[in-house]
């Protein structure tokens, strides 16, 4: 057995820009998930053993850890995988613009320089907002290459009429959203109405056009890991580019057992169709340690290819604060108080 888990994923090495000496893996461009016809027999054959999933989820963080410069590098990677998010009732264009500024420069330049990481492309994976702020975010991020994601299907319940939800998606795409985070109707999962769920996701996907579709399952409201796995499968067959755990508004959001059930479906979908679908845990991920656990989960269950922003994102509003504290500790040997960090 090899001492480490190298996986031969398609990747080429390209020199970093602007005189950097660092080499950055540039993954081969993704083929978007074209979806496929709903296979009800496959859906019903899916089952997840809760005890086994919980055991794996409990032991994985104890089996894998990264220290010193490895930890710093992993945390920088985590920064590039973050969908910096603000989904509050009191959002304004001004605080969205502030978030966008943070997305462009998520880590202080002096810290990056001290880590020898100035040449690395350290910026957030995306900025995630409600529809009314898409235009402001697109404007604030112009030229940065950072996409704007919009939660546009009557987020967070998703219970508006279908025509209303599709109209919101169209409006967000028209305003420049490059990614749409839709919520599914959780009742369809609880009632086993897989065809209706498939049709719902497929309709949103068709409306998205070039915008990538993340499908939020609302896992905290789906009752069982088997339901979560089946809903993941249906969403992927209906053309999801990403599957995402939660809105962040449920009482239970992203957890490792839920993530295990979902990423194993992503693996099964790749094995069956050859298509790579992304994963986004969202809600409740607040500490750097949690972020490292999620990265280890992706590395172990899906491989290194899923440690890139086109296939993995954190949905997080507070995570960056703790990551910055840990990075500052790596550089200075001292911990700053959370309130000294510029976010949230």
């Amino acid at each position: 057995m090899r001492p480490s888990a190298g996986t031969g994923t398609a990747a080429r090495v390209a020199p970093a820009d602007a005189g950097g000496t660092a080499l950055v893996h540039v993954p081969a461009p993704l083929v978007r998930n074209p979806g496929e016809p709903l296979d009800l027999a496959a859906v019903r054959a899916i089952r997840v053993n809760r005890s086994a999933a919980e055991r794996r989820a409990a032991t994985l963080p104890a089996r894998r850890t990264v220290k010193k410069q490895w930890q710093a590098a992993w945390l920088l990677k985590a920064v590039t995988l973050m969908d910096l998010t603000t989904l509050q009732g009191d959002d304004t264009p001004a605080n969205v613009r502030r978030l966008c500024a943070k997305a462009r420069q998520p880590v202080r330049p002096d810290l990056l320089e001290a880590m020898g990481a100035s040449a690395l492309p350290i910026r957030a994976g995306a900025v995630c907002v409600y529809h009314p702020f898409v235009a402001a975010a697109v404007d604030a991020l112009r030229g940065s290459g950072i996409p704007v994601a919009a939660v546009s299907t009557a987020f967070p319940s998703g219970l508006a009429p279908m025509a209303t939800r599709l109209a919101e998606v169209r409006a967000s795409v028209a305003d420049g959203a490059a990614e749409i985070d839709m919520v599914i109707t959780r009742g369809l999962v609880l009632r086993g109405e897989w065809q209706a769920l498939y049709d719902e996701v497929a309709a949103v996907r068709a409306t998205c056009g070039e915008a990538h579709l993340k499908v939020i399952l609302g896992t905290g409201e789906l009752a069982t890991l088997t339901n979560i796995a089946r809903a993941s499968w249906v969403a992927m067959q209906a053309g999801a580019d990403f599957i995402k755990t939660s809105t962040g508004k449920e009482s239970v959001n992203a957890t490792l057992p839920v993530s295990l059930a979902m990423v194993r479906m992503i693996r099964a979908y790749r094995e069956r169709s050859g298509v790579l679908v992304g994963y986004k845990p969202a809600g409740g991920i607040r500490t750097a340690k949690q972020a490292l656990d999620y990265l280890a989960l992706m590395k172990e269950e899906l491989g290194d290819r899923w440690l890139a922003p086109d296939l993995f994102r954190f949905g997080a509003s507070a995570l960056l604060t703790d990551v910055e504290r840990q990075l500052e500790h790596f550089v200075t040997g001292r911990y700053a108080a959370a309130h000294r960090m510029p976010m949230p």
Binding site: R2, A22, A73, G116
Partner: protein
């Protein structure tokens, strides 16, 4: 030095070493040479000794004493002398000692975990998360039994001096399984650890004495099978308790037949792991990982036979192979390895021999 920028690109795990300074200091404090622990103190490290090696590197950790029949007799005599006073304590008083031992293990858990990983080759993750916490729990558990003894076992009395022989796969945990119930019942103990892995037993005895366990109640005699045979056959031993191979169990059963000694044997097996077609196959794969690669597979109940329903055989084997690709093998003190070292080159050669035998009989070998 590997830079942050390089790691950002490779996303490798990198080293995550546990510190071994405290463990090395303990070995150095004993001059890296141990006698037996008898009657509350170490005997002089004599000429009759053997090397205890660190399986991960092959380097010598210490020299341990090869116990003679006279050493065994001295230990049994000490245990016999300590027996009346220990037996005369109430269950509650013995419980106080057992709780003290549990707390002692918790207090020194890191030292125990590192010494065990160095001596046995198993990973620090397992010694830290499994062996050592379980040791503390067993002493706590049996402290409870000591308190309940008079109510739950009326009319019973301790059998006397117990001779115990334990294997190398869970050295400290096996000690706890053997020692804790014996002390709770009011017995005194002479224990012989496996010759590959004597160190944590010696450390435990030293710290137990420091925690107030009366002299002679727990005695450790180190050595190979000859020392074990002398202990088992000693007439002062009232009960024999052994965990080991089936072969050794048969020899001991024969050796003490007709002597009137009580006997407990815990021996090896070949345990099957069954997978049916309606299982969560990904979950079942993790079950196999725990069943057969835990402790480098050196477990008496390891799931060493895998029986899979034919309808899911191919899918299951494919998943298992993919999972094996992600197992990390490395130094036992690295916190992020799944498998450390096999306990001794002798065992490693035995495994290689069994693999060769399987291939000669028509099996196909597959390794990541």
């Amino acid at each position: 030095m590997t830079t942050v920028a390089e790691i950002f690109s490779t996303m490798a795990y990198g080293p995550a070493p546990e510190g071994d300074a405290e463990a090395r200091a303990w070995l150095a404090a004993h001059g890296a040479a141990f006698g037996h622990f008898v009657n509350g103190r170490f005997t002089a490290a004599g000429a009759a000794s053997f090397e205890t090696r660190e399986p991960a590197t092959g380097r010598v950790l210490a020299r341990s004493a090869q116990g003679s029949a006279a050493d065994v007799a001295a230990a049994v005599a000490a245990a016999g002398a300590a027996l009346p006073a220990w037996q005369a304590l109430s269950g509650h008083e013995r419980a106080r000692h057992l709780y003290a031992l549990a707390r002692m293990v918790q207090r020194h858990s890191r030292l125990f975990a590192v010494v065990e990983a160095l001596d046995n080759g198993k990973s620090i993750r397992e010694t830290r998360d499994l062996d050592v916490p379980l040791v503390a729990r067993h002493f706590t558990h049996h402290a409870g039994w000591a308190q309940l003894l008079e109510a739950e076992f009326p009319g019973h009395e301790a059998v006397g001096v117990v001779g115990q022989v334990i294997p190398w796969n869970f050295p400290l945990l096996m000690l706890a399984w053997k020692v804790a119930p014996a002390l709770a019942a009011g017995c005194t103990v002479v224990l012989k650890p496996a010759e590959y892995t004597s160190l944590t037993a010696l450390l435990f005895a030293e710290l137990a004495h420091a925690a107030g366990l009366p002299a002679g109640v727990l005695n450790i005699v180190t050595g190979d099978g000859r020392t074990g045979a002398a202990l088992v056959e000693h007439p002062g031993v009232a009960k024999v308790a052994v965990t080991g191979s089936t072969e050794v169990g048969r020899v001991i059963r024969t050796a003490i037949a007709g002597s009137g000694k009580a006997l407990t044997l815990e021996l090896g097996g070949k345990s099957p792991f069954l997978v049916f077609e309606d299982a969560d196959l990904d979950g079942a794969v993790e079950g196999v990982v725990d069943a057969i690669w835990f402790n480098q597979g050196q477990v008496c109940c390891a799931g060493s036979r895998l029986l899979v329903q034919e309808s899911v055989h191919d899918a299951f084997v494919a998943k298992l192979r993919a999972r094996m690709e992600t197992l990390r093998v490395g130094g036992p003190l690295d916190k992020a390895v799944d498998m450390g070292a096999i306990v001794d080159p002798v065992q490693r050669d035995r495994i290689a021999g069994l693999v060769a035998q399987g291939e000669a009989q028509g099996a196909t070998r597959w390794q990541p």
